[in-house]
């Protein structure tokens, strides 16, 4: 099986997952108690007003029809209109404004997590059993055990209120100012990154230690290759495969992280939009956000799979 085939199969799988996911997203929203009409019009709305609202937004149609309208709309790039959040405003337009912020924070957090774990995991494995290993391993456990919202407040306390070096609230769109987004996004990105970095570092350490014991490492040393060469081309090269795989698995936590963190740091992103939409029973908004997150997670997983296919020839050959 060649690489192209591998890619086609993975891509097809991702599309099927998105289609199934769309059905679940839709059903899930209908299961949530509460009426969007009441949410929009208030508790005191008259029955006529409610009925009119429901008719206007197609909420009086049978569910399969509603699903069909929604799905065919998406196929044409129309994610419907917001009912309560920004009344009558196309959801797609809302997403276009907010998606870059969330993507930026998510990728920012991922980069921080990968960089930190790369060094922490490598140092821990290289200096196994020594002080630096203990330090890196303890820091990883700390990172895993700190809830991200709690860490957020600690970071705000230290860096914003204490040292006054980074802002506690508000965000600059990366489209306006990339450096501004880097500075303003530092605390939220780090808050999301810390638990992931902990997990990644532990995985990398374990993978490096396991690979170090492999027969091919002994074989490489029997050839008289230099230690650095053996480390780079044998140990690290092969430990990278589980490391990257775990990154793909952990991406879903990235999404969960942004939802909470965006609220805390006042970032106008997809996560906060979804939370607001859920409180307002704004079906179209929540469904669109969930779908976007689904596509994001599958997209990152696909990229991870492609990287893994390059790293591990046994997957495609």
């Amino acid at each position: 099986m060649g690489f192209i085939w591998y890619l086609i199969i993975r891509l097809g799988g991702a599309l099927v997952t998105i289609a199934i996911g769309a059905v679940f997203v839709f059903i899930l929203m209908q299961l949530i108690p509460g009426d969007p009409a009441i949410a929009a019009l208030g508790e005191n709305a008259t029955d006529e007003n409610v009925a009119a609202f429901r008719r206007m937004h197609g909420l009086d149609q049978p569910l399969p029809v509603q699903f069909w309208i929604w799905l065919s709309g998406i196929a044409q790039g129309d994610f419907g209109k917001s009912i309560t959040l920004a009344q009558g405003y196309p959801v797609w337009d809302l997403m276009v404004q907010r998606l870059p912020n969330t993507l930026f924070i998510a990728v920012y957090a991922l980069v921080i997590a990968v960089v930190i774990s790369f060094f922490a995991g490598s140092i821990a494995a290289l200096r196994q059993g020594r002080m630096s290993d203990t330090a890196a391993t303890s820091a990883s456990i700390l990172g895993i055990s700190m809830p991200d919202f709690w860490l957020s407040y600690v970071l705000i306390l230290v860096f914003s209120l204490g040292l006054g070096v980074l802002p506690a609230f508000g965000f600059t769109s990366p489209l306006e100012s990339f450096s501004g987004a880097l500075v303003n996004g530092a605390l939220p990105a780090f808050a999301i990154a810390a638990p992931m970095a902990g997990v990644f570092a532990r995985i990398l350490r374990a993978a490096l230690l396991e690979t170090k014991r492999k027969d091919y490492v002994t074989a490489a040393r029997s050839f008289g290759f230099r230690d650095t060469f053996v480390y780079m081309h044998y140990i690290f090269r092969n430990a990278l495969i589980p490391f990257v795989t775990v990154i793909g698995v952990q991406v879903r936590y990235l999404v969960g992280g942004t939802v909470i963190i965006e609220r805390i740091f006042g970032i106008a992103g997809l996560g906060s939009m979804m939370v607001d939409g859920a409180f307002g029973r704004d079906y179209a908004v929540v469904q669109a956000c969930m779908l976007a997150f689904l596509v994001f997670v599958l997209g990152v997983n696909l990229i991870v799979d492609i990287i893994c296919a390059f790293l591990d020839p046994r997957r495609t050959h």
């Binding site: 002994t218 090269r237 591990d312």
Partner: protein, 341 residues
């Protein structure tokens, strides 16, 4: 040694008083004790014994390839007439590959799974470039050199193999490729650690033929580790029999097979013979089990299983006695010792 003293420059490897063991969570676990070996150029020394007898630890000690928790002690380690006893690891690393190399038991585990077979050849030829200007020249044309070497070891389509990943090749093919890699080094010492154990019978025979062929062509010193007496008999010039981390008997293959001295060797041969003849008689096995290295008997390590055991065996650790053309670690031969100890 009492057999014809070899010319000094003929001896590739001489080891005296090698001890090795592992640091475990519950203390030090000694594995091999007082191992003395000598291998000459062009000679094949067999190390035979059951699994757990310390054969592999002995072999890996010689190449400084034991895991990190291992400890080794040497009285004397001469390699190519050079004392390498206390040599630092970086200097010793330079000896590996170009001067001493290993053919491992599991060829599939010996290759980097992320790299093509060609990559391995390329790196190995690069590594040999320091040996001479000719080697450096050959490293530049490594592809052809690799294909030629593979042809020597019975791989007809080497150019295809270069482009394949290890997992795409069979065990037998990989073992040939690994042997070709080792041959690229033209090492002075080749250690083969049960190189056919993981292969099926037909491939095993082919690989053994290959070794026999190489042994005739090369001037290297060979150490062949095996638990198979038949293989040892056909391949080795001399044999060291190991039991519970000690060499219990050492001598010329023919002489050991014709007249085994140590009770363990006698038992081993009787078992092998019974297997070969497949006679209706009950298989003659040595009763008992190999002792655990952490729980050795106080006297001779073989005493609990020995048919000739007598009082002193259970309290005294016998040294290696020098017999004409033979070394035996057994008190039965104390009076035959010719070293004047």
């Amino acid at each position: 040694m009492t057999d014809t003293p070899a010319r000094n420059d003929d001896v590739a490897l001489r080891i005296r008083g090698l001890n090795a063991g592992f640091r475990m969570s519950d203390g030090y676990l000694p594995i091999i004790e007082d191992v003395n070996l000598e291998v000459r150029k062009g000679e094949v020394l067999g190390i035979i014994g059951e699994s757990g007898s310390g054969k592999t630890v002995t072999g890996m000690s010689i190449l400084h390839l034991l895991p990190e928790n291992a400890e080794t002690k040497w009285e004397k380690f001469d390699f190519l007439n050079r004392d390498v006893t206390g040599m630092d690891e970086e200097a010793f690393r330079a000896l590996r590959g170009n001067h001493m190399a290993v053919v491992f038991q599991d060829p599939t585990g010996a290759f980097n799974p992320a790299k093509k077979v060609g990559w391995h050849f390329h790196q190995v030829f690069e590594r040999t470039a320091v040996k001479s200007p000719d080697h450096a020249q050959r490293a530049k044309d490594w592809r052809n050199a690799a294909i030629n070497l593979m042809r020597d070891v019975g791989i007809a389509h080497g150019e295809n193999v270069l482009g394949q990943y290890p997992h795409q090749l069979s065990g037998g093919m990989l073992q040939r490729a690994l042997i070709a890699l080792v041959l690229a080094f033209e090492p002075d010492l080749i250690l083969a650690d049960e190189p056919t154990t993981n292969l099926d019978n037909i491939v095993e025979r082919q690989i053994l033929d290959l070794f026999r062929d190489l042994q005739k062509r090369l001037d290297s010193a060979f150490i062949f580790i095996t638990h198979d007496m038949t293989i040892a008999a056909t391949l080795c010039d001399r044999i060291a029999v190991m039991y519970a981390g000690r060499i219990v008997e050492l001598g010329a293959t023919r002489e050991i097979f014709d007249d085994p001295k140590h009770p363990y060797t006698q038992g081993l041969l009787a078992t092998a013979l019974a297997l070969e003849v497949k006679s209706g008689e009950r298989l003659q096995e040595i009763p008992g089990e190999l002792p655990h290295p952490g729980d050795l008997p106080p006297g001779c390590v073989f005493a609990p299983r020995c048919p000739h055991v007598f009082g002193r065996c259970e309290v005294e650790r016998p040294p290696l006695f020098d017999l004409p053309g033979r070394e035996v670690r057994c008190l039965l031969y104390e009076d035959d010792d010719v070293s004047g100890r």
